[in-house]
């Protein structure tokens, strides 16, 4: 049976597990119909021209994990930023692990989507925010239809979350192939501030396909710093659909570190609903083998006096493929917009490729919009300079690549995370030189 058919028929089984007489289930029912109509994207869709899901969709995925699987912290500690105090919302094969998690209801809610979707006390928030930012493309609709579990974070007004929140989705490989559809909702109140780290980690080489949807709502003057660490197993694929709705004077940044996985597609969408909004999108991609990473970004400037900053760096080795499609829309009312976009790439192998496409749609006349993309090799004169000082070829290359990617790291506000990313980059470049000196 094809995956689409399987998913459609699984929806009936899914309905036996959830309360169908609810506000949320009406949304799910609509969404499954949307998915039935639209299905999975294919290469005929302009936005999927360079990324094909065909091979990945051929696996015989279990749509739900049959069992509750457990993990010991000591076995998975290395996937946590463990040297700092943090809240943790941890899932194993799509199911919540209370054992590994550290949630709170003390002055704010850092807990589970399954609770938020079913308990009356969350109803108002759910009705106000759930599925209000997500688009109804096939993949997002599919996630909405099966939305049941994920992270739920609600920070009320005037609150600074003093610890970062880590959201980690583990897959154990107990199923021979598993599809996961986590659904996250993050609401940040006026003047509030939160830092979130998200990671998907497969623990075996069994295929995993994650189709996740995250909705983030940043109210007036809220500050949200979101970090996505994508360093998954060779057979794990991720389609990350993130929708960010910003109100006036809010600052939201999303850093995406893509170092692993089979196929990774990031659909990152910002909507600016207010003035003096600042949106930051940064990414470092370092991949090799046959890995594929696709960044598809949208910044929708709707009101005047807002800024957006996009800076994506990519280093591609072996037969890897990179895609960057950055769309910036500036509406007629959005005067004095300042939108910046850069995508710089280095190809370190003749067989690697990158497709990069800036897409600007500007309807206002008093704006500053810039974009630039480059594709290059490492500078030979810089290589000679480093080597003439005794730095061998491999290390010199690594140093130049590190330097190339470095400015994206500068804006990471959690020092331990920055250190960890530094280490991941050094590992990825297969060198043993300390970068964070």
């Amino acid at each position: 049976m094809e995956l689409k058919e399987k998913l459609l028929s699984s929806f009936l089984a899914f309905e036996n597990q959830v309360d169908v007489d609810t506000y949320v289930h009406d949304i799910r029912s609509k969404a499954i119909k949307t998915f039935e109509t639209k299905g999975f994207p294919n290469k005929m869709d302009e936005a999927w021209k360079y990324t094909s899901l065909n091979k990945i969709l051929k696996e015989d995925y279990s749509v739900f994990s049959k069992e509750e699987n457990a993990l010991e912290y000591s076995d998975v500690k290395k996937y946590f930023i463990h040297d700092i105090d943090s809240y943790k919302i941890i899932f194993i094969d799509g199911k919540y692990s209370s054992h590994l998690s550290d949630t709170t209801h003390d002055g704010m809610d850092v807990c589970l989507m399954s609770a938020a979707l079913t308990k009356p006390k969350y109803r108002l928030v759910i009705e106000n925010y759930f599925n209000k930012a997500a688009k109804d493309d096939g993949l997002s609709a599919l996630n909405t239809a099966f939305s049941k579990e994920g992270a739920y974070i609600n920070i009320p007004k005037n609150k600074i979350a003093e610890k970062p929140i880590q959201i980690i989705h583990f897959s154990t490989g107990k199923e021979s192939a598993l599809m996961l559809q986590p659904r996250n909702l993050i609401v940040v109140g006026e003047n509030s501030h939160v830092q979130i780290i998200e990671r998907h980690q497969s623990l075996t080489s069994n295929p995993v396909l994650t189709n996740s949807v995250t909705e983030i709502f940043a109210n007036k003057r809220a500050i949200v710093d979101y970090y996505k660490v994508q360093n998954d197993d060779q057979n794990a694929s991720l389609i990350d659909n993130t929708y960010i709705n910003q109100k006036q004077q809010s600052h939201v940044s999303v850093h995406t570190f893509s170092f692993g996985g089979k196929l990774t597609r990031n659909n990152l969408n910002f909507f600016q609903n207010g003035e003096h909004i600042d949106s930051t999108l940064k990414g470092v991609t370092i991949i090799g083998n046959k890995q594929h990473v696709d960044h598809n970004t949208l910044v929708h400037h709707i009101e005047p006096n807002c800024e957006s900053h996009q800076d994506y760096k990519g280093i591609f080795g072996d037969n890897s493929v990179g895609v960057f499609n950055g769309k910036v829309v500036v509406e007629k009312e959005a005067q004095k917009t300042n939108a910046f976009q850069a995508n710089n790439n280095i190809l370190v192998s003749d067989k690697a490729s990158i497709n990069t496409k800036p897409q600007l749609e500007i309807f206002a006349d008093d704006v500053k919009c810039s974009h630039g993309c480059t594709i290059g090799q490492l500078d030979e004169s810089a290589m000679f300079y480093l080597r003439s000082r005794g730095i061998p070829e491999k290390e010199a290359k690594a140093l130049l690549m590190y330097a190339f990617a470095n400015n994206v790291l500068e804006s990471v506000k959690i020092p331990e995370l920055k250190k960890r990313i530094n280490k991941l980059i050094a590992n990825k470049l297969a060198v043993n030189i300390g970068f964070d000196l």
């Binding site: 000679f384 300079y385 003439s388 000082r389």
Partner: protein, 250 residues
């Protein structure tokens, strides 16, 4: 220390060096002068091991070992240092980070452990004082936005850190005002010992007022056409290069 025998080299099939012979002994300072395009900088790059240059014939021998086939970093490990005419800007790598990597990679190649951090700091402090370099300067990105003088001072600072056996200064005086020239020359002179040697490549005699050479060689058309003592540099300053071209019948 260094023996160059009948060295021919080309870049992109264009022959530039046509039979260079040169011997530099420990403790000596040699100046190599010559008009633009004569092959001075090519000689420097070929000794340092720049890949684009093809050695067509001849040998480069450092302390009895033929280094002509070694990579640039391997030559650096053997004690060759090139002060660049145009140091390359490398955004994102601080001067300190760069120096630490260079020193520890060199030590690794020589079978030594990494230099302990406190020792490294002490060395950096000592050598930056020698070149009158502000500490803040060391945390800046390598050569990025440096003035001409800062770049050259930074080159000699690197030389001081790496303590090479053979230092080649390629047009180190270009772009320097008189104060920077004095600081750079002073640094070079302080680093001189009976165990190391220096090759100063320059178009003008000016630098040689500060770094006094034992020998002066004139390159023309890829060959050394005249050698002499330090007075040869003064003669060139006074009369220009044309009389040499006439003398060698070029």
């Amino acid at each position: 220390m260094l023996k160059i025998k009948d060295l021919h080299a080309s870049v992109d099939d264009k022959t530039i060096l046509r039979g260079i012979n040169l011997e530099v002994k420990a403790g000596e300072v040699h100046a190599i002068m010559g008009p633009n395009g004569s092959g001075k900088s090519t000689l420097a790059s070929v000794i340092a091991g720049k890949e684009e240059y093809e050695v067509d014939k001849g040998n480069i021998i450092l302390e009895g070992e033929n280094i002509g086939e070694l990579e640039a970093d391997e030559r650096a490990h053997k004690g060759i240092f090139l002060s660049f005419q145009y140091p390359v800007e490398i955004p994102g790598v601080s001067v300190t980070n760069f120096m630490k990597t260079a020193i520890n990679e060199t030590r690794k190649a020589r079978g030594l452990a990494d230099m302990p951090a406190n020792e490294m700091l002490k060395l950096i402090r000592e050598k930056s004082e020698l070149l009158e370099i502000d500490r803040k300067f060391l945390s800046r990105s390598l050569n990025e936005g440096f003035s001409g003088g800062e770049k050259k001072r930074n080159e000699i600072f690197q030389m001081a850190m790496l303590e090479p056996k053979l230092a080649i200064l390629d047009e180190t005086d270009s772009g320097l005002d008189i104060d920077a020239l004095r600081i750079v020359a002073n640094g070079v002179n302080k680093l001189k010992s009976k165990d190391n040697a220096t090759i100063v490549i320059t178009h003008y005699q000016r630098l040689l007022d500060y770094i006094i050479p034992d020998f002066v060689h004139v390159i023309h058309n890829g060959r050394i056409v005249k050698s002499g003592g330090k007075e040869l540099a003064l003669e060139l300053e006074e009369k220009g290069y044309d009389w040499i071209k006439e003398e060698v019948g070029a």
